[in-house]
């Protein structure tokens, strides 16, 4: 009976942990989509997909993306950690900064690109500052 109760407790703790992890990622995505909201009104189509995970402070993650000349893109990054400073920047395949503007604020970061060429680009996301050991982040993008 004791063993059963221990297993049950372990399952409950694991369940809570999994729930918490997915909840924080969902929260990060909510912030990314909140950042996107004003741009939707400007005619940007927000893709119904997102990318995310968790990173330590000063850790970076690169995501490769195909961008097309003729489109304009906004990338929005969100985090659920209120005092975290996050950033997203876009580089071309030669490693040159490709964005035309970017901004940061609590919970959010964003970058805009009007590609000079169609091809591969790198989105570099980073947790610049955070009180948490691991900080959840989510990235969404829109185009027009």
């Amino acid at each position: 009976m004791k063993t059963f109760s221990r297993i049950l407790t372990a399952i409950l703790i694991f369940g809570l942990f999994v729930h918490r992890a997915s909840a924080t990622l969902d929260d990060a995505l909510s912030f990314a989509l909140e950042a996107a909201d004003p741009y939707v009104k400007e005619g940007f189509t927000v893709r119904e997909d997102y990318w995310g995970g968790d990173l330590g402070v000063k850790q970076k993650k690169a995501i490769m993306q195909q961008l097309f000349k003729g489109n304009e893109y906004w990338f929005w990054m969100g985090t659920d950690v209120s005092n975290a400073v996050v950033s997203v920047h876009v580089y071309d395949s030669d490693g040159n900064l490709a964005e035309v503007e970017s901004w940061h604020k609590a919970h959010f970061a964003a970058a805009r690109v009007t590609p000079k060429h169609s091809g591969s680009y790198y989105l570099i996301v980073e947790i610049e500052k955070s009180d948490e050991e691991r900080t959840h982040w989510a990235l969404a993008y829109g185009f027009r």
Binding site: A35, P38, T45, Q66, K69, G70
Partner: protein, 263 residues
């Protein structure tokens, strides 16, 4: 308009309050550990079609073709077929053919049933049909995009990641065929440049290589794999993509899409 401008201004001004370092003008991508660069975002067909629309007014009616309503072949073929049908949905939207879009919405559901993910796309299929009835093309695009995401997510949940990759590949191949059809009819350097997709090609090739041997040996999957190898020299082109190159990619993609649609 003023409110929108104000919202953007507010976000921009709030931005100054955060402390973030300026990004370097240049980074050494080669020095980045491979584990850091493991994600590739596969674009949705609307991203390509949107550019084509800006370059001219393609006759999408000529590009649009009827879709398969029922599953054919093994699961791998159904997954590829599902991808091509969803891509056809985007073409039907460009052509503003509401009856065809509705048919595609129903076909997506039939094919999703055949690979065991009917439940996850039932609501999308209905939303596609409803939006097509209202001729709300923007909404149809979003629902098609959502259908693609839902199908793949459901397959991943069922531990069918490899089939999910085939759905993406099917969509990409039909999208590439449609793109080359349009560019072939009225060649422009900017239109042809849309074919420059080296990262995507490499990503798909990597995913095919990682597939289990049984799937890799599937005749159709092997054909898809060969078609990517044949396309590679043009897709990786760093200079201008010529009309001849466009034609070459068209022939390769048309041939493999035909195979996907054939019993």
């Amino acid at each position: 308009m003023k409110k929108r401008g104000f919202a953007l201004l507010l976000l921009s001004s709030l931005a100054t309050s955060a402390i973030a370092s300026d990004p370097p003008r240049h980074i050494d991508l080669g020095a980045m550990p491979a584990t850091v660069v493991d994600d590739v975002i596969v674009p949705v067909p609307s991203e390509v079609f949107g550019v084509l629309d800006k370059l001219g007014t393609p006759n999408w009616h000529e590009v649009l073709r009827p879709t398969q309503s029922n599953a054919i072949g093994e699961r791998a073929q159904v997954a590829l077929l599902l991808g091509t049908v969803i891509a056809e949905g985007f073409i039907a939207v460009e052509a503003q053919e509401s009856e065809e879009v509705k048919k595609i919405g129903r076909n997506v559901l039939n094919l999703a049933s055949a690979v065991g993910v009917r439940k996850s796309v039932a609501a999308r299929s209905k939303a596609i049909i409803d939006a097509a009835d209202r001729k709300d093309w923007q909404r149809v695009r979003l629902e098609l995009d959502g259908a693609l995401t839902d199908v793949k997510t459901a397959m991943i949940e069922l531990h069918d990641e490899q089939l999910a990759q085939l759905v993406s590949l099917g969509g990409w191949l039909r999208g590439t065929e449609a793109l080359t059809t349009v560019v072939n009819r009225s060649y422009s350097k900017d239109g042809a440049e849309l074919l420059r997709q080296p990262a995507l090609l490499e990503y798909f090739q990597r995913r095919l290589k990682e597939m289990e041997p049984r799937l890799r040996k599937n005749q159709l999957v092997a054909k898809v794999s060969e078609s990517l190898v044949a396309m590679k020299p043009v897709i990786e082109e760093t200079g201008d993509v010529s009309a001849k190159d466009v034609e070459k990619i068209h022939d390769i993609s048309a041939d493999v899409v035909h195979a996907v649609n054939t019993r």
